[in-house]
């Protein structure tokens, strides 16, 4: 952590039609640190990640990524972000390798990086099969490769270990775990494990901040209330 902020949110609010999905959310994350966003289904976690990924606009308040306000300066931060969402963002009829090469070209990354990542997640032998023929765990491994292809400075991870078996979890750890060395915002349905790898925690309840602060300060009572 070098003191600069990877993320700064001030009174962030987002609506979908009549429904307010995020309400007056404020938080910050130093570069290199990890923020765990907690909350029940529909609490606004994925929406927050999509705003940070520049895919959704905030309706009120401010969202800054590496000091750049969104959405006005979104183009300046896109190359620094890596998003791993519920949707793997892979074309089902292309192979894993073709998908990664396509994204590598969009991010101006060499194909050797694609091979390096496929090898790291042990998908190099299955990389020439169409994505639609792969298991969900394999698709998730390729999606992780896609998210980290361009060595992003901020990783936005929405339940990153979904569909991964323990062995695959170990394989992806250097890419999306603390060892990745970049700032991370992650959501998980396993609060215990997620808090253990986070520096900061943000609890969301119906889109509003239930608690925010150091991850090791989140107590069992707060979690119980959040998921009640």
């Amino acid at each position: 952590m070098d003191g600069t902020l990877a993320i700064e949110l001030r009174g962030l609010t987002r609506h979908f039609g009549e429904r307010t999905v995020l309400r007056d959310v404020s938080a910050s994350l130093p570069a290199g640190a990890t923020l765990d966003v907690l909350g029940r289904n529909g609490a606004g976690k994925s929406t927050l990640l999509r705003i940070l990924a520049t895919l959704l606009r905030p309706h009120e308040g401010e969202a800054l990524v590496f000091g750049e306000p969104l959405p006005g300066r979104a183009f300046a931060v896109r190359g620094k972000l890596g998003l791993l969402a519920h949707d793997p963002l892979l074309y089902r009829d292309l192979t894993g390798r073709e998908n990664l090469r396509y994204h590598a070209q969009l991010h101006r990354v060499g194909f050797e990086r694609v091979e390096e990542l496929l090898e790291a997640v042990k998908m190099d032998r299955r990389a020439d099969e169409p994505v639609r023929l792969l298991s969900q765990g394999m698709v998730q491994r390729i999606a992780i490769c896609r998210a980290v292809l361009h060595a992003p400075e901020l990783l936005l991870l929405d339940e990153p270990r979904a569909n991964l078996d323990p062995a695959a979890g170990v394989l992806v750890e250097p890419l999306i775990g603390r060892a990745a060395g970049c700032a991370r915002v992650l959501t998980s349905h396993d609060p215990g494990a997620a808090l253990a790898e986070a520096d900061l925690a943000l609890g969301l309840s119906d889109g509003a901040v239930a608690f925010a602060g150091p991850a090791d300060g989140v107590g069992a009572a707060q979690l119980k209330e959040l998921y009640a």
Partner: protein, 223 residues
């Protein structure tokens, strides 16, 4: 330009892998020619009638391609994947229009000879170069307007309805010009070159809509 080629190559690869669009367009156009053949109850047609039939058939077949143009982007996260990349968003417009143009050329390679066999009286040989020029300009109009409309329609729940409803009125001037330009070429002992006035109308229409599409496309990708 580099990003456009990356996007175009991906779209062509997807089409070659799935054969979802061009075969459907080609089969549809042949079916329409057969329907016209029996509907007219005539062995052959020529001139302005032939120009109209060819134009309307290609337009209806093109609508199938227009409706499918952004389906993979919407259903498989292609939009998000593209929007996360630090690239010029207009490159998606150019790549999609180029992909649709390519699909239309592939359609015409099948549909125009089929039209010559099933309906057209005069030979296609003599006016072929002129007809290629007319269809190339028509394809530009269909590609640019089709991409624009498809990008709007894909954001809606009723995309299969919105596409044709918005595209058809926008394409009327281009289609009139195409039919009028193709008519003399398809007449018995007709001209070998299309009327300059209608070629100019088509070219002007292409240029105007290319500028409009370039101007508004970025906003269509916004949340």
């Amino acid at each position: 330009m580099r990003t456009v080629l990356v996007l175009l190559r991906k779209d062509l690869r997807l089409e070659l892998r799935t054969f979802e669009t061009v075969p459907a367009m080609a089969l549809f156009s042949i079916a329409v020619f057969v329907i016209f053949h029996f509907g007219f109850n005539r062995a052959t047609i020529a001139g302005q009638l032939a120009g109209g039939v060819l134009t309307v058939t290609l337009l209806l077949a093109a609508l199938l391609g227009i409706n499918r143009l952004f389906v993979a982007e919407r259903e498989q996260g292609g939009f998000d994947g593209f929007l996360l990349a630090p690239v010029d968003r207009s490159s998606l417009l150019v790549a999609k229009a180029a992909a649709l143009f390519t699909f239309l050329v592939a359609l015409e390679v099948i549909a125009v000879p089929a039209f010559g066999l099933l309906l057209l009286g005069p030979s296609l040989g003599r006016p072929l170069l002129g007809l290629i020029a007319v269809l190339a300009l028509t394809n530009v109009a269909l590609s640019v307007i089709g991409t624009l409309v498809s990008a709007i329609a894909i954001q809606t729940r009723a995309r299969d309805l919105i596409g044709p409803i918005v595209a058809l009125p926008l394409l009327i001037p281009a289609l009139i010009a195409t039919a009028r330009a193709a008519g003399p070429l398809l007449a018995a002992h007709g001209s070998v070159s299309p009327p300059g006035k209608w070629i100019a109308v088509l070219a002007l229409y292409d240029a105007i809509f290319a500028l409009i599409a370039y101007g508004v496309f970025d906003f269509l990708l916004e949340d």
